[in-house]
């Protein structure tokens, strides 16, 4: 991997980080840096180590993916059903509804949802199906328009793009629910996608979608809303699957690689949990193991 093939932002950040970290550590160790005037929070260094390891794993996986090494990602039934749902809506002459959650672009789930929207919009444009995207945040509306317009260009049908199908309703949670469910009952979309951050409105959307007989595919990383989507939708992307889906659907090697890096992080978390549990259990009989478990807990700030 040649340095020059890295994006400028990536190389800039790596250089900046490389310069900043020793600088910060040097400041922390500088004479006169008392407890109240610490330049660096040494108590948080273990967390920094974890961040560096996970980030390094993700960056390494991205770089490996760029070398052309095949990236294998498990197929998700929910993603396989996207084309089927849009195709069904086209056959029935009905619209496709995409709800990108109720949070702003500051929420990573919304970003992931908009990414998936791009893929859904591309398929809808190819099938010439009408795609409605009601948003509850004005910045999301703007981002969704960009994504849908780009999808129409990619599908070779820029003339079918209609900005008015992506509209802002209200920031107010239940006002938004009332408007979206109202249009669902009136327009009866044949396929409903719920991709983003959802709260109490998840079941209101999904049950209304169920009552109109729509194919429903949901994806969220809000653990409290997952049971509702699982109960009421045909397919649900659960937690990390949702983030993986957004990267998967993008089809970009960089993003696919980052999923593998993320899995390395998961492996690390699992290893630490298993070691910690084993030490804590063995510590019931062996004091040395109990000390080890305590040290591990202290290291991770417990």
């Amino acid at each position: 991997m040649r340095w020059t093939t890295m994006p400028r932002s990536l190389s800039t950040l790596v250089v900046a980080a490389a310069l900043l970290l020793p600088f910060s550590v040097a400041l922390a160790e500088a004479p006169g840096a008392g407890p109240d005037k610490d330049w660096i929070r040494t108590d948080r260094l273990p967390l920094l180590l974890v961040i560096v390891v996970v980030s390094a794993a993700v960056v390494a996986a991205i770089l490996l993916a760029r070398t052309g090494r095949p990236v294998k990602i498990r197929r998700l039934a929910a993603l396989d059903a996207v084309d089927e749902a849009i195709g069904r809506a086209t056959e029935m002459g009905r619209s496709v509804l995409f709800v990108p959650g109720i949070m702003d672009m500051t929420d990573i789930q919304t970003v992931a949802g908009v990414n998936i929207l791009g893929r859904v919009a591309k398929t809808a444009a190819e099938y010439d199906a009408k795609l409605e995207v009601p948003t509850s945040r004005s910045i999301v509306m703007s981002a969704a328009r960009d994504a849908v317009q780009a999808a129409h260009f990619e599908a070779g049908r820029p003339e079918t793009y209609n900005a008015d199908n992506i509209r802002y309703l209200t920031d107010e949670q239940f006002g938004y629910v009332a408007a979206v469910t109202g249009s669902m009952v009136r327009d009866k979309p044949a396929a409903c996608f719920y991709m983003g951050a959802f709260y109490a409105e998840s079941l209101l959307f999904a049950e209304n979608g169920n009552s109109i007989g729509a194919i429903q595919i949901a994806g969220t990383a809000e653990p409290s809303q997952l049971p509702f989507f699982v109960a009421a939708c045909d397919y649900t992307l659960i937690g990390e699957e949702f983030f993986a889906a957004s990267a998967y659907l993008s089809g970009e090697r960089d993003q696919l690689g980052s999923i593998q890096g993320q899995d390395l992080g998961k492996l690390l978390a699992a290893a630490v949990i298993i070691i910690g549990c084993a030490l804590a259990t063995a510590g019931l009989w062996l004091p040395a193991c109990a000390d080890g478990a305590a040290a591990l807990r202290k290291f991770f700030g417990g």
Partner: protein, 237 residues
């Protein structure tokens, strides 16, 4: 290119500052500034949404498309709240500045804004939230079916939690002494065991997965690998 390069630079810089501020005390004030900037931007973004709301609904009314009556109600409600809120119509005069109308309190039910909040908005949103009770019942009726071992376990858990979350739990099993060998048969005991051990363990696993997903996605954004939030086809219409 400016349309894509500048946002990436802003995102990279802001993200790096936020991460750095957690570890380097000198960067805390920078992260405070980033937060303040975000708050200002979030407030200004309301205007963008309001403009679109007006455009879409006015177009619908002028062309008298199906459902244009809803658009008329939306705009009427929008302008009513905007005017009574912005101009503090009927505000209660402030005792310190009785001559300055805009210093008055407009949030009490005695003013049109406060009255609308208290007697229109509040009941409407509560109604929407309360509809969950109905949808939960119909979803449970349809989805909670004992089709296999896992779903039977799920059903049993649901029954325990539903009963233990009310006085029925104590009524049915409260007579079992808390210090007896059969205390584990008490519904309140089982609820605590399920929520604090099984549910929390499951939730931690999901949360770790989500946290790593969020971290990886954030990293993709900060490093400029994921540019999905940026315009790709010549800007938005």
């Amino acid at each position: 290119m400016l349309q894509r390069t500048v946002p990436i630079i802003i995102l990279c810089a802001s993200g790096a500052i936020m991460v750095l501020a957690y570890f380097v005390t000198a960067a805390v004030s920078w992260s405070e500034t980033v937060n303040v900037w975000f708050n200002v931007l979030a407030a200004v973004a309301f205007v963008l949404g309001a403009g679109n709301l007006l455009k879409v609904n006015l177009e619908k009314i002028s062309s008298q498309r199906p459902g244009w009556g809803y658009s008329a109600i939306t705009l009427a409600a929008f302008f009513f709240m905007l005017v009574v809120g912005l101009f503090k119509v009927g505000a209660i005069p402030d005792s310190k500045y009785p001559g300055v109308r805009l210093a008055g309190n407009y949030e009490t039910p005695a003013s049109p804004y406060g009255w609308t909040y208290e007697y229109v908005f509040s009941p409407l949103t509560s109604t929407m939230f309360a509809m969950l009770a109905f949808y939960v019942a119909s979803a449970a009726f349809r989805a909670f079916r004992a089709k296999n071992t896992e779903s039977i376990l799920l059903l049993a858990t649901a029954f325990i939690i539903l009963l233990a979350q009310t006085a029925a739990g104590m009524f049915l099993t409260g007579w079992i002494p808390e210090d007896s060998a059969f205390a584990f048969l008490r519904l309140d005991w089982m609820k605590v065991a399920i929520t604090e051990h099984i549910q929390t363990a499951g939730m931690r696993a999901i949360t770790i997965g989500i946290a790593l997903g969020v971290a990886a996605t954030s990293l993709r954004l900060i490093l400029g690998v994921d540019k999905s939030y940026l315009p790709r086809g010549g800007g938005a219409a």
